[in-house]
Amino acid sequence: MLFTSYEFIGFAMLLLIAYYCCPKKYQWVLLLMFSCAFYYIAGPVYLIYIFITIITTYFAACMIEKNADRQSEYLKIHKAEMSKEEKKSYKLHEKHIRAGWKIGCIVINIGILAVVKYADFLIDNANSILTSFGYTGKLSFASLALPLGISFYTLQAIGYLIDVYRGTVRAERNLFKFALFISFFPQLIQGPISRFDSLSKTLYSGHTFDIKTVSYGLQRVLWGFFKKVVIADRILAGVQTIIGDIQTYNGAYAFVGMIFYTIELYADFTGGIDITIGIAQSLGITVQENFIRPYFSKSLKEYWRRWHISMCNWFRDYIFYPVSSSRLIQKVSKFSRKKFSAAIGKHLPIYISSFVVWFATGIWHGASWNFIVWGLANWFVLMVSEELEPVYLRFHNRFHLNTNFLYRLYLIGRTVMLVCCLNMFDCYSSVSDTLTAFGSMFTASNWHIIWDGALLNIGLTMADYCILLAGIILLIAVSAAGRSGGVRDKISMKPYPVRLCIWFGLFLIVIIMGAYGVGYDASQFIYNRF
């Protein structure tokens, strides 16, 4: 059941009515039932996978917390009779027990993800190696179906477990409440990857019907639908035509495809997240924001602080920091300081841990080389920018350009183009196709297609272009207006007839200008496949 399907709209409406008719004490139970139903409809077998994640994480977190509580109790009682060394040794011993639970649970859950998501990728690579050594036999593919949302809920469960291990959150002792945290259906398909301390504040508490909260939530859902069906699904036809035939659609077509794909990805993913946050908000539940106007960023580093924030924060807190602060990396850093220079020793932990993070980010997005190369290309650009930072600083100080509007506009444009280029690895689904298409842009002699009407033959009509242009202008305008406060707050202060015109107008636009009709497949939110 997909967000833009009639079934889903009916499902969400039914929940909304039942939720506010239900006693507040049992609202979270109703949410759990609807979440299980949502997952069951997606595929009954998938329930087994999510059930294993829920049980193992719940149990491991409870055991970790029990151990930590027992340690505190023991130290409190025996504080006077223990020496500093004895205390240290006792703490270390108990910490190893807790680490055992943590690692065991992570191995099980990452193991499940690895088998269902990466088995065929590994088999494919093994076959290539065997062939290169002259073996004719081939390993057969496992062809396992990828359970809905497994990449997202696995990270969410591991994040929770590590937070309990670090003592930053208390373990949830009610299994069913914990099950709801993992399976909460609006965020199951494409995130955000919520933190327990943030989501649990509103997930389990009862909510009274509040017209403002519900209408704000539904307005956000409508805005998400606008992005998805009016922009993303409309431009999709053009993207598919261009990437489907790289020999015909090369050069300037590749450039157009690159820009179109970035627009599609933005509208599709942020639209999906708007629907998620909007549904949760209409139920009185706060789900964290996942984007802060990413295409207003002035550097790639800033872009990654504003795009898919929950995923970036997850990789930062649970991979980047642990790797960079590990004893091994710190030893390497100290060694480099002595053998080479202080600067190298200082930067080495950043280079190594960023490499690990971007490799993991790449492979998390998909089991293929194009995602790995996409991740490592991001890493490379970020590291080069980091090294050039002092040069930029000297340049800015010399020419005082940082406050110049045109220069800032140039920086934003440069970042957008950089992200567009990097997104090509994701768009073409093959490293060689990406490089071919990218290279063709620099040798192209077909730039005339941009004005001679050829772009009307890639599955988009003049009406499509007009709708897309108007839609993108609206997107940029709303995004820019959001810089000085909530857009819905601003609209809510307008007179009633104006508000009615805005929201009813948007509703009509979604109904009339959405990309529906024969051949339309509402199913494919890009981030579903990750």
Binding site: K88, T168, R316, D317, P322, K346, P349
Partner: protein, 76 residues
């Protein structure tokens, strides 16, 4: 404290670390800065800062960082 302030001002000469109390929340220090700080602190104070210590409360001000260093020195 002077040593810590020296490390911090090497990192961002333009920031007044004696008065700033929201270094993480206001995004004055980013993740790369934190990693650089961990290496520098480890080198200068001979303490080990692990991932579980990397939370905003421990890095929001020079004072909070110094308290963390003292706590780790006591433990080690």
């Amino acid at each position: 404290m002077e040593e810590l302030l020296r490390i911090l001002s090497d990192l961002h000469p333009d920031v007044d670390f004696e008065t700033q109390e929201n270094l993480i929340d206001d995004m004055i220090l980013d993740s790369f800065d934190i990693v650089t700080l961990i290496s520098e602190i480890s080198e200068s104070f001979d303490v080990t800062i692990s991932a579980e210590h990397i939370i905003p409360e421990n890095f929001n001000s020079a004072k909070a960082m110094y308290e963390l260093i003292q706590k780790l020195e006591d433990e080690e």
